[in-house]
Amino acid sequence: MEHVELFFKSIFIDNMVFATFLGMCSYLAVSKKVSTAVGLGAAVIFVLAVTVPMNWLLDQYVLRPGALTWLGAEYADYDLSFLSFILFIATIATMVQLVEIVVEKFAPALYTSLGIFLPLIAVNCAILGGSLFMQSRDIATLGLAFNYGLASGIGWFLAILAIAAIREKIRYSNVPAPLRGLGITFIITGLMAIGFMSFGGMLTGGEEKTEKTDEAAQIETITQDKDAEEPLAEVSQELNNK
């Protein structure tokens, strides 16, 4: 249940693009065509799903206060968390490079479609942001960290897919000249972000259950009323028929 909740929360409520504006640069630059947007989106999902668990391990066993206890009791007081930026970004840069090499070797078809985007990704703030949010939100287990990375990537993918589709269609509309291109994209993204805010009420936990039962009770009474009315309606219809 925890996994499902985190999954949907990361995709819709804490959507990388619409809630925290991460990866906006490549989101704006690479969203002119749906096909390239899909390529970049897939690469982001992949890299996030790999680097967030990696950085979780780093955070857990190297960086946070007391994380070095496994080396020996005398290391228990060390707090290396000020190094997290540099270690996270180094991990991301090397992982991206590694992934590029591996994909090129074992899946040339995937490489031709993702290849040009992979180097771009090292400097996509969505990737580093994923790791930093993972750290600041205290994700508890490795499985959850993987889940978080994957779901955030999917959220980013959905966002860039949606804006690319809209931008492909918008060239048939008569946008005021100064707003064309970047301006209208900003405003559309703003409107989409307002739309995504409505997902905020999706997962509020136990409090809503009572409300739901109230609603269910209301619905039941309404249907009962309808049941009560139906015989009357039948009678009136019969009368009409006669």
Partner: protein, 215 residues
């Protein structure tokens, strides 16, 4: 400005208007939007980026002949990350509340595309002094947009500027509130930042027709 030749002055002044990093070059959007709900945070973010970009541009420019081009991205990231750690530690020491507000976005200066963009486009091909000017200029252009967005969002959203109640007190009903003015809480939510930046782009491009895009 007798110190600067005309060309050097262009390096500083162009990014403020016609070559603005946010509205024209489309660099560094992420942090511009997320932290502009308050003017103070915008200003601090602008200054931080100015420091990182100014110093980083000089460092990269000094090293430009010895960085192998294949691993230059990693080298650049290490330089930026080191500078950002300095900024982060300074903020934590002297402005702890503010560093909480900025949360992960200080760290995200590392991947702020404005920094990598200027390293790639300018510092790798120019001397340290000109790179420094370019860094300061671009960061100032970035800070300018941040301050404009932060100004409108804080003014319309909570009726304050830098924490001062410039429009009167909403609870005691003084100033503008006395005649029925209400704060627009929507301005404090993140989507409005996008729309405010969209409007800035609109204004800028209607004043300068040369900037209008094809589609």
């Amino acid at each position: 400005m007798a110190l600067l030749s005309k060309k050097d002055r262009g390096l500083i002044l162009d990014p403020l208007a016609d070559n603005n990093p946010i509205t024209i070059q489309v660099l560094g959007i992420c942090s511009a939007l997320a932290i502009t709900a308050q003017l103070k945070a915008s200003i601090v973010m602008g200054i931080s980026v100015m420091f990182v970009l100014g110093v980083g541009n000089v460092v990269i420019s000094l090293m430009r002949n010895i960085i192998p081009s294949k691993i230059r991205i990693i080298v650049q990231l290490v330089v930026v990350a080191a500078l950002v750690i300095i900024v982060d530690q300074v903020l934590k020491a002297f402005a702890y509340e503010l560093s909480k507000t900025l949360s992960v976005f200080v760290g995200l200066i590392i991947t702020n595309c404005i920094i990598m963009g200027r390293f790639e486009a300018f510092a790798l091909g120019n001397g340290p002094w000109r790179s420094f000017l370019d860094g300061i200029g671009n960061a100032a252009g970035y800070a300018l947009i941040l301050v404009i967005v932060g100004f409108f969002r804080e003014l319309l959203g909570s009726g304050t500027l830098l924490g001062f109640k410039v429009l009167g007190d909403p609870i005691a009903k003084t100033g503008l509130y006395a005649i029925g003015y209400e704060n627009n809480g929507f301005m404090l939510l993140s989507p409005m930042a996008l729309i405010v930046v969209g409007i800035i782009i609109w204004v800028q491009r209607s004043r300068n027709k040369a900037l209008i895009e094809e589609n």
